[in-house]
């Protein structure tokens, strides 16, 4: 284990994770909103926002899937030390981390009709994140919102599964946005 994997955690976990969770809650409750999230630092290629989100939401109870873009020994060591989450295949992951191209959406559990919450939350790393692009409507959105999503059809298919489906976080640098399964997405 390299010493770098011992660094990059929270200095004051109770308070930093509380603030980070509020950003995570605010983005999930208001799709299209972009919040700033910082405090965690994982080895490349993980963004600061994604590292902070992992530290806030994941622990030994949450199996994680690392997409090929992120499945590197240094990151596995970092997660093992700071989070302790088991690494699993996509089909049994509660959280997944990767770039859009390397995440195969059809492989993740979308929950069951009785328990739609038993589905994966995907953390998708993007180059940039802006409030332009596809048009969003649905719970949490007053009239409509826009978000620079990497795709449209995939999110429409995901929404069609509602109340089952996947939930997404998007990260770019220290920026964080979210797209729950309840949001309707249209090309703009």
């Amino acid at each position: 284990m390299s010493t770098t994997s011992l660094q990059g955690g929270f200095d004051t976990p109770p308070k930093q994770s509380a603030l980070a969770f509020r950003a995570a809650l605010s983005t999930m409750a208001r799709p299209g909103n972009i919040e700033t999230l910082s405090g965690g630092n994982a080895p490349t290629p993980v963004s600061e926002a994604a590292a902070t989100l992992l530290l806030t939401l994941c622990d030994q109870e949450t199996p994680i899937y690392l997409a090929p873009s992120h499945d590197r020994p240094a990151l596995r060591e970092w997660i093992a030390f700071h989070i302790g989450a088991p690494f699993v295949a996509a089909s049994s992951a509660l959280f997944a981390l990767g770039t859009w191209d390397t995440l195969q959406l059809t492989e993740f559990p979308t929950g069951t009709p009785e328990y739609p919450d038993r589905s994966t939350t995907l953390i998708v790393e993007l180059e940039t994140l802006t409030t332009t692009g596809p048009r969003l409507t649905g719970p949490g959105i007053k009239d409509h919102a826009y978000l620079s999503l990497p795709d449209v059809a995939a999110f429409q298919q995901n929404n069609a599964l509602f109340p089952m489906g996947l939930d997404f976080y998007f990260t770019a640098g220290v920026q964080l946005a979210a797209l729950p399964r309840s949001t309707k997405v249209e090309a703009n």
């Binding site: 605010s26 009709p113 919450d117 949490g140 509602f162 309840s182």
Partner: protein, 287 residues
């Protein structure tokens, strides 16, 4: 040095609750099971709400706690003190100043904003529970969107009483999908469930968390010929004269004397300090 972790709960418990809250927000109205912890207060005193509040609090928050609209009743005072002790957060009685409001059975009269979180204490989260006691069955009914039984219940109300007699915990349908128990708020408050604030519901004993994100469609169940009507006592507040608030009826003597006062104490006091008067208000001192 504080004797407690920030906001009482340990970090792993908070992560578990936070994950449940996020899934609840992603599936509005769906009851997410969570591993509710024992809290240093009895079930029925808001253990679910306290756990949700503890998972949401940050050191920068200003917390307000109400019990049936009042800031100064036992349940509200004890929970507020609990978080003053364990999280060292600022507390307030004023709705507009609070960033998190934990409530037992009321939605504040003062309109909520996008920057606020309303946390409900929920005794029985399952709206179908009194109609179907088996959890396996109610789960299937939610999965199949099979809510006929609830409409039969409301219809039986009409057949027996001539109107829908349910006055509190009036069932709602969230975003055209899940029928949800809004906790035992008076049905007067139901229209306020469509709100710019994030609304989170915690049921400690029943181990369920659910949520209504901002601007989510929330429709009170009704019939075309018996539309939903939010009810209030046909009186004015005897302290502030308000004719648009939810009122409590208070017996004031042994001869059947009574008065009506706003159940939301902060709203009533704000109106009184703005000069509004009701018929039992003390006479102004001639200065």
């Amino acid at each position: 040095m504080s004797d407690y972790n920030f906001a009482y709960l340990d970090e792993q418990t908070k992560r578990m609750i936070r994950r449940a809250i996020l899934k609840g927000v992603a599936i509005p109205g769906y009851q997410v099971p969570f591993a509710s912890r024992e809290m240093p207060m009895p079930y029925g005193w808001g253990t679910g709400g306290v756990q949700v509040t503890a998972a949401c609090l940050t050191p920068d928050d200003t917390l307000k706690v109400i019990d049936q609209g009042a800031d100064d009743t036992t349940n509200a005072v004890s929970i507020r003190k609990f978080f003053e002790n364990t999280a060292d957060v600022a507390v307030t009685g004023q709705t507009s100043e609070a960033s998190i409001i934990q409530t037992r059975h009321r939605i504040p009269e003062h309109p909520l904003t996008e920057d606020q979180i309303l946390v409900y204490q929920v005794p029985i989260p399952e709206p179908l529970r009194f109609l179907e006691p088996r959890e396996t069955e109610t789960r299937k009914m939610h999965a199949l969107e099979e809510y006929g039984l609830m409409h039969v219940k409301l219809y039986e109300d009409i057949a027996r009483h001539g109107h829908i007699a349910t006055a509190y915990a009036y069932p709602v349908k969230v975003e055209d999908r899940y029928v949800m128990d809004p906790s035992p708020i008076p049905k007067f408050d139901n229209p306020k469930l469509e709100s710019p604030a994030i609304q989170l519901f915690g049921a400690g004993r029943e181990q369920r968390i659910y949520a209504v994100p901002p601007f989510t469609k929330v429709v009170s169940l009704d019939f075309e010929d018996h539309p939903f009507e939010p009810a209030r006592a046909e009186h004015e507040c005897d302290l502030c004269g308000a004719d648009h608030t939810y009122l409590d009826e208070v017996i004031i003597d042994d001869n059947g004397g009574r008065m009506f006062v706003c159940s939301d104490t902060d709203y009533c006091e704000t109106r009184q300090s703005a000069g509004h008067r009701g018929k039992f208000s003390p006479k102004e001192n001639a200065a």
